[in-house]
């Protein structure tokens, strides 16, 4: 369906808004004309319509005003105005539309010293078209190749000049394979909070997450999978080898990470919440305190959704705290993962960013490697990226780091409730 630009503006005029800007839509294809021939003119917002029309008149331009039609705004009032006059001033928008072939008087108005301050800029009025949905089914955009995992390609980290050097990142999880050849030199601190269990990871999950933060590459295949290979790992074992823990262990792990002056805490853990359930005030207070102490807590949004069955589960605990940076999961075609939780609850519970979270290759227990899926994987990838950003700007506060991650994110054509600011993305 073809809609002329002026019609779009007219529709907006019928609404009570006062600060609308003319819409700009992309063409659907190259066959459709882009411009109407008319001009849009940006006016000084401080100038009255009377001044504008009076100054225009001196340049032989007869301008009508929307106020002239205030009582009779039928569908074709704009057409009438543009037939009867040379153009029309949209009083509330401080924008005018000028008819075709009147470029010369407009140029004069913008150039003359007495009028230039009121006639600021012109641009060609566009046709706007209904946006058509993509007809092409999305195919896989990224694949693991001989040099790196799809995840590292997707977050654009391979060209980064930063490696996370000197940045302390805590991974609170099931521990780490302390003897893993890819990781042992990265471990700067470790502590267990699980009674009767050593930091040594007998589950594999913690080793996987740690590898995503600070693993470098496969020793023989030279296949890169870690985001910040020079980051300093602080491993807090807060979950047992069965992958289970308690709030009290995790809070103790956060406290320890703050004692160790970690700038980033990666938590691929959590518990499901019900729709409408409020976030934990205890964790929110702790996360705020961590931010004050320049430590950003990054946590997995959760995997309870089954989107293929139209089930979207709310972001889990504790990622649902407003002061914890919540990470959703993306597939290699950059669609939201079937399992990834969404921002449903109005009181907290938003997704802040999304990262690669399906078939992610990293280290595993017993000197191993394997692919895993989950918001668990997306989270340490974002934590590693945060380490690169922190290295690029060592004085950046945790709040600034939060903002940088969000600003640098690559926007995706997906709901913000699913992917927050978009795909975590390296701009350094």
């Amino acid at each position: 369906m073809l809609l002329a630009g002026f019609l779009c503006n007219e529709l907006k005029l019928l609404m009570p808004a006062t600060t609308l800007i003319p819409a700009r839509f992309l063409r659907e294809d190259d066959q459709k004309p882009r411009f109407t021939g008319k001009q849009l003119v940006l006016l000084n917002s401080a100038a009255t319509t009377k001044t504008i029309t009076s100054q225009a008149k001196k340049s032989s331009l007869r301008l009508a005003s929307t106020a002239d039609f205030s009582k009779s705004r039928t569908g074709d009032f704009l057409t009438q105005a543009l037939v009867q006059a040379d153009g029309i001033v949209f009083e509330k928008l401080k924008v005018a539309i000028i008819n075709e072939a009147l470029e010369d008087p407009m140029r004069h108005l913008m150039a003359a010293s007495s009028t230039a301050r009121n006639f600021l800029r012109t641009e060609a009025e566009r046709f706007v078209y209904a946006l058509a949905g993509s007809k092409k089914k999305k195919s896989t955009l990224f694949t693991d190749n001989s040099s790196a995992t799809w995840a590292l390609q997707a977050i654009n980290v391979l060209k980064s000049k930063y490696s996370g050097k000197g940045i302390r990142v805590a991974v609170l999880d099931t521990g780490i394979d302390t003897g893993h050849p890819d990781l042992k030199s990265r471990i700067r601190g470790k502590k267990t909070f699980v009674s009767g269990q050593q930091v040594m990871d007998r589950n594999g999950h913690g080793t996987h997450c740690s590898g995503l933060v600070a693993g470098l590459h496969h020793p023989t295949r030279k296949f890169r999978y870690g985001v910040a290979p020079d980051a300093q790992l602080y491993i807090g074992k807060v979950l047992s080898n069965d992958g289970v823990g308690t709030d009290s262990s995790i809070l103790a792990g956060i406290e320890w990470a703050l004692e160790q002056k970690c700038r980033i805490i990666s938590m691929s853990l959590g518990g499901a919440v019900e729709p409408g359930e409020k976030y934990s005030s205890v964790y929110e207070s702790v996360a705020r305190e961590a931010l004050k102490q320049n430590c950003l807590i990054i946590a997995a949004a959760g995997n309870e959704s089954e989107r293929s069955r139209n089930i979207i589960a709310p972001v889990g605990h504790p990622a649902n705290c407003p002061s914890i940076f919540a990470v959703g999961s993306l597939s290699a075609s950059l669609s939201i993962s079937d399992f990834s939780c969404g921002g449903l609850n109005s009181d907290g519970g938003q997704v802040d960013i999304a990262g690669p979270g399906e078939n992610i290759w990293s280290t595993w227990k017993n000197n191993g490697y394997r692919r895993e899926s989950g918001t668990s994987m997306a989270t340490p990838i974002v934590a590693g990226l945060a380490a690169l950003i922190q290295q690029a700007d060592p004085d950046a506060s945790a709040a600034a780091l939060w903002m940088r991650l969000s600003q640098d994110a690559k926007r995706l054509p997906l709901p913000a409730s699913d992917c927050g600011a978009g795909l975590a993305y390296s701009r350094h």
């Binding site: 999880d173 992958g243 308690t246 709030d247 009290s248 809070l251 691929s268 205890v282």
Partner: protein, 71 residues
């Protein structure tokens, strides 16, 4: 029941610990950087622990890894 709590003023956390102990709670961890107290309330309800100086108190929940479970 096990609990987690956060205090309103970290500098006065020891006073809150004493109050909880006086109520009969067993204190397990006192985390001074974040102002957190964890412990066991025994037979008491969580709401009973809402003493002066406590900002919030909640049950100590079970937490697990966020790896996707195989279908």
């Amino acid at each position: 029941m096990k609990f987690i709590a956060v205090v309103t003023d970290k500098d006065k956390i020891d006073q809150v610990v004493k109050s909880l102990e006086a109520l009969g709670c067993t204190i397990e961890k006192v985390l001074r950087l974040t102002g957190v107290i964890t412990g066991d309330a025994g037979p008491r309800k969580i709401e009973e622990l809402n003493l002066p100086g406590i900002l919030s108190v909640e049950p100590d929940r079970k937490i697990s890894i966020r790896k996707k479970r195989p279908n």
